[in-house]
Symmetry: C2
């Protein structure tokens, strides 16, 4: 989802509080995405990096480390690692989804080609591993390499779950953990580990990132239906057209009568979509109340994220992280 | 290149000498390519792993460690790491090259789709990092993450060097180091590092892998022209059709007169290839003697590989590694 905002949105307050760290992370990113020999690499990467993602993930690493009193600079390397992993997955996602737009600009696979997106993504993955190895912290390496595996597994799972009406809520949860929550979780957890925090704090930070990521992705999936109020907007319905099973649909399918099931089989499994089908799908989600249920689930995960911060030290950055959890679900209410 | 063989080919003798280690590595590969949740992953991977590459790269890691007296089992994890990195790059290469055959079987991108090849490749990269992190050896992590970056950079470089007549011998060397030699080098080097060898031995092993990989790739590039004798076979000319600049062409371009240069501009830069052009290209390579020169370069790199083994301990595996260097260039003489 996009984090558009009032001037005092929590991620903007975090940006101010972490300005020096973020400047160092940006310098590190620019330095490490360079390639003496293959200028195509910084071209492609800069296209994406300059498009200005909000750096939420690296900011979480910086915030987690700083609020735990960390005073070194290894957290900047970890933050850059996290952003590189994120950027690499975006490049590969755009190839897999055959996307043409990302952050309001043409995607790299459109501007250059799929080959460049695949190979530059690989380069960024490799650079991210170099960066994390430089910290010399084996526990951090363990967390981040596990996250990379969960992310890739989730992407493959999403590929095979699409168009499959047998997709369960468990599979959905695993897909969104892979595509979103695993990196949020690792980003927060390594901040605590590098700051040498007790186990309870580290676990709390990991649980915060996991829950925040799940809430974030559920909101994203709900906004693809225009939110929970059942009004389709002009940027809605992509998931239906791409035959992706997100939570509102999975629940509506589970409760479908024979006629409704035939509708889902035709539109999602067989991909035979006609005029009016999107509206019909929406009517079914409303009839079964699954948009509203998904909204409540997202709020629940945001609440869990806040509770998970309990063991962490009192700090203004901790308050901003708590506010961020409210913020990601605020557009739904 | 393919290593077809007499019964006593050096890689077959290595296979016998390392049979127990290789069985453990194969078990590890099978175990780690599994995915509880995404069965597509082991399907795609098994397709490639079972097709039976000769496991040259993991064997180099095992051989390097064992000849240095290593008695633990971490070298098996490193060997599996190396094979996973190799398999991941094959999956991505097939997408980039739009290949339809690999090891005599249809490629994964053809049997499943490009999406699966990209994402399963990512999964194997992530698994390879998990495996190497498990060894807990930071120097090994450093070597392998650097190799991964060199590999990806080399692939991007190859992409931008294709069709570009300004490609120099330096760029060619860097491309083949990236696509082949970097992983050979790292495979050998980590074997010495895990066996806790003195710096001279480790450097020698790395230099052996680098030189072996370069010889290996030069032979491959030469065989694409049917070898050095100037007779085109039925499996020749792919690089010319794909407009890739390998060493024989780079040197012929450097010495071209105006008419010859016009030929290369038309066929390689503009991609306007007509009947008889492949034969004409071959005539130019023969006229400038660049096939024979490339053969001599490959022999020279094989010789360097053998010399690089000097600091390593005397051991039957060391002799087999030396023989392997002769073997990879033997098909050219």
């Amino acid at each position: 989802m996009s984090l558009d905002t009032a001037a005092t949105a929590p991620h903007e307050r975090m940006q101010s509080a972490l300005a020096d760290d973020l400047a160092a992370v940006n310098a590190l990113i620019r330095d490490r995405m360079a390639s003496k020999h293959a200028p195509r690499i910084p071209e492609v990467t800069a296209h994406l990096v300059d498009a200005g993602g909000k750096r939420v993930r690296p900011m979480l690493t910086l915030a987690a480390a700083r609020m735990c009193g960390y005073e070194g600079s290894a957290h900047q390397k970890l933050a850059a690692t996290v952003e590189f992993i994120h950027t690499a997955t975006l490049l590969h996602d755009d190839v897999v989804d055959e996307s043409h737009k990302r952050r309001g600009r043409p995607t790299a696979n459109l501007l250059w080609d799929n080959k460049s997106s695949v190979l530059v993504g690989d380069y960024l993955f490799a650079r991210s591993f170099q960066l994390m190895v430089e910290t010399g912290n084996l526990r951090v390496l363990n967390i981040l390499s596990n996250a990379a595996a969960v992310i890739a597994e989730g992407e493959v799972l999403q590929l095979t779950a699409a168009m499959n009406l047998a997709t369960t809520e468990d599979i959905y949860l695993q897909v969104i953990r892979g595509k979103t929550a695993a990196l949020f979780e690792a980003a927060c957890e390594v901040g605590g580990v590098i700051a040498d925090q007790p186990e309870g704090v580290v676990r709390g930070l990991a649980a915060y990132g996991d829950a925040l990521g799940i809430a974030f992705q559920m909101v994203d999936d709900l906004l693809d239906w225009g939110g929970s109020d059942g009004v389709l907007g002009k940027n809605t319905g992509d998931d239906f057209r791409e035959r992706k099973l997100t939570l509102p649909v999975i629940r509506a399918v589970a409760r479908a009568d024979a006629a409704e099931r035939a509708f889902w089989v035709r539109t999602i499994e067989k991909g035979d979509q006609r005029e009016g089908d999107l509206e019909q799908a929406m009517a079914l989600l409303l009839a079964h109340g699954t948009l509203e249920e998904t909204r409540i689930e997202a709020l629940d995960w945001a609440a869990r994220a806040k509770v998970a911060l309990d063991p962490a030290p009192q700090h203004p950055l901790r308050d901003m992280m708590a506010d961020l959890a409210d913020y990601v679900v605020a557009r739904l209410t």
